[in-house]
């Protein structure tokens, strides 16, 4: 296995209906290719992240418009992959296949999403129905927030996590976001009182613990470890990967808050990397709801079950803490760009490993573990990256 991310670009997360999907997409694709230091015709495949709730853009990408618009004369094939929040992870997996089989030396992985031009009621409908069973959940008024409220209440009941501790997760995520020029919450930290005082959406989740839908775009250029070394620039080297499926319908899962999926996927990834969880300098957890930040730490074995919420409450996972987690801010601390959140997780991990994360830079960041999830956490896809190849 030898995938390396050698070029990145991002349009900051915000609500900006002035910018179109293609406007942003063009900028990040050109930006990532230039960042890699290669020419446009060196790209031999384009594997795009499916844009959620944007059927025209999804079709444009699926039917080959990206290399045409960019003039990528060396492109041999294209594909769009959709697994919700794990779409970007799937793009990396397919890119690895192209690269390992010498079908492509460089693969471009782009994402773009504009949600601010979609009527609010349509977005509520989309995010209410997208992950739900139409027979057994939807008639009861379940929403994404409601499903995550159900899971969070059980998680808190079983682990003893308190409302204050859970709210502290959002405080730390927003603290990372406040330092991040790519976050919609740049310069906008919140206090515990802000979180607990915000409107109750679906118990125990307050408004500030739920997601703020936004626009954004990002792109990566990936290649093999060997070619990345030849380029002679800092890169993020994939060292190991593992994944577990939990199920589509929250009520039916026997791993209700994903301890097992986080544990087994991270064990596979770490074993392949020949590293341990304590070797990780940074943990990047994409769960889109605060309990996942706790549950993943426990599943990874970075702490005991029942300890994670207290660790977050002590500030150890936020800026200046000794166990930095999710410097990307997660969707709650950065803004939710649909399937683009996982793209942004990888981009931020590359910045950290290249030492380019500015005020959020984790000191001596050489190894990072990243978990993405799709749907209502139907899976946990965990990857270990390093600043050097194995």
């Amino acid at each position: 296995m030898s995938l390396a991310i050698v070029g990145i670009a991002e349009v900051p997360t915000k609500r900006d209906p002035e910018r179109t999907r293609w406007d942003m997409l063009t900028e990040v694709c050109i930006g990532a290719i230039r960042d890699a230091g290669i020419g446009k015709d060196d790209i031999e495949a384009v594997i795009s992240v499916n844009p959620m709730a944007q059927p025209q853009m999804a079709l444009d990408m699926a039917l080959g418009r990206v290399p045409e618009v960019l003039g990528l004369k060396g492109c041999k094939d294209i594909c769009v992959l959709n697994a919700g929040g794990t779409s970007t992870t799937n793009c990396l997996r397919l890119a690895k296949y192209f690269i390992e089989n010498k079908q492509a030396k460089f693969v471009l992985v782009p994402h773009t999403t504009v949600q601010s031009d979609i009527p609010t009621e349509d977005l509520i409908n989309f995010f209410a129905t997208a992950p739900l069973d139409m027979q057994w959940e939807y008639p009861y008024g379940v929403t994404f927030n409601g499903a995550m409220g159900l899971i969070t209440n059980r998680y808190m009941h079983d682990t003893g996590a308190t409302a204050e501790q859970m709210a502290s997760v959002t405080v730390s995520l927003r603290a990372w976001g406040a330092l991040d020029p790519n976050s919609i919450f740049h310069g906008k930290p919140v206090t515990l009182e802000d979180v607990l005082g915000s409107r109750m959406i679906s118990t125990p989740l307050h408004a500030k613990e739920c997601n703020f839908l936004a626009d954004g775009a990002g792109a990566m250029v990936v290649t093999s470890h060997e070619v990345a070394q030849e380029l002679g620039k800092p890169a993020a080297y994939e060292l190991g990967h593992g994944v577990r499926f939990t199920g589509a319908t929250p009520v039916l899962r026997d791993d209700p808050y994903f301890h097992r999926a986080y544990r087994e996927s991270s064990q596979d990834a770490l074993a392949e990397a020949d590293l341990g969880i304590d070797d990780m300098d940074l943990r990047q957890i994409y769960g889109a709801y605060p309990f996942t930040q706790c549950s993943a730490l426990e599943g990874y074995g970075a702490c005991a079950v029942g300890e994670a919420a207290g660790i977050w409450a002590d500030g150890r996972c936020g800026p200046g803490g000794d166990l930095p987690c999710t410097t990307m801010g997660d969707a709650t601390g950065r803004g939710h760009t649909g399937s683009g959140v996982s793209m942004a997780f990888y981009l931020d991990t590359v910045r950290q490993l290249r030492g380019e994360a500015g005020e959020r830079q984790v000191k001596n960041c050489h190894h990072a573990i990243v978990t993405t999830s799709g749907g209502s956490v139907m899976n946990a896809a965990t990857t270990v990256f390093g600043s050097e190849p194995r």
Partner: protein
Amino acid sequence: MSDYKKPLPQVEPYTQAFWDGTKNGKLLVQTCSDCNARIFFPRKQCPECWSTNLGWMEASGKATVYSYSVTYEGVEAVFKDDLPIVLAWVDLPEGIRMQTNIVECDSDSVHIGQDVEVVFKAVTDDITLPYFRPVA
């Protein structure tokens, strides 16, 4: 009842018996005659052994709250008159866990471990939804 605007369950041929049951005041649990699995939600084939030798047992109607969430906002317009909506996962002694709403209650009083019982609400001529309410 024909003015019911909220989403109705999208019934499959192999789940029709479940909805015929609720219409007649019965909560049915699908069972596998080959491996004895208790199945929710109902399938065309047993998810444990792929048998098509499936049947139904009538549940007692008792259940325990496994988890809950009281929704105050963020629902589609057709649900707004129902707010707050008490979402719940309930465990039936027959061995399945279902998504439902807890109704006829003070939403603040719902809690994990609470004893509840099924209550049927006919929402159209064809569809009766099973809800649960606290045991008096």
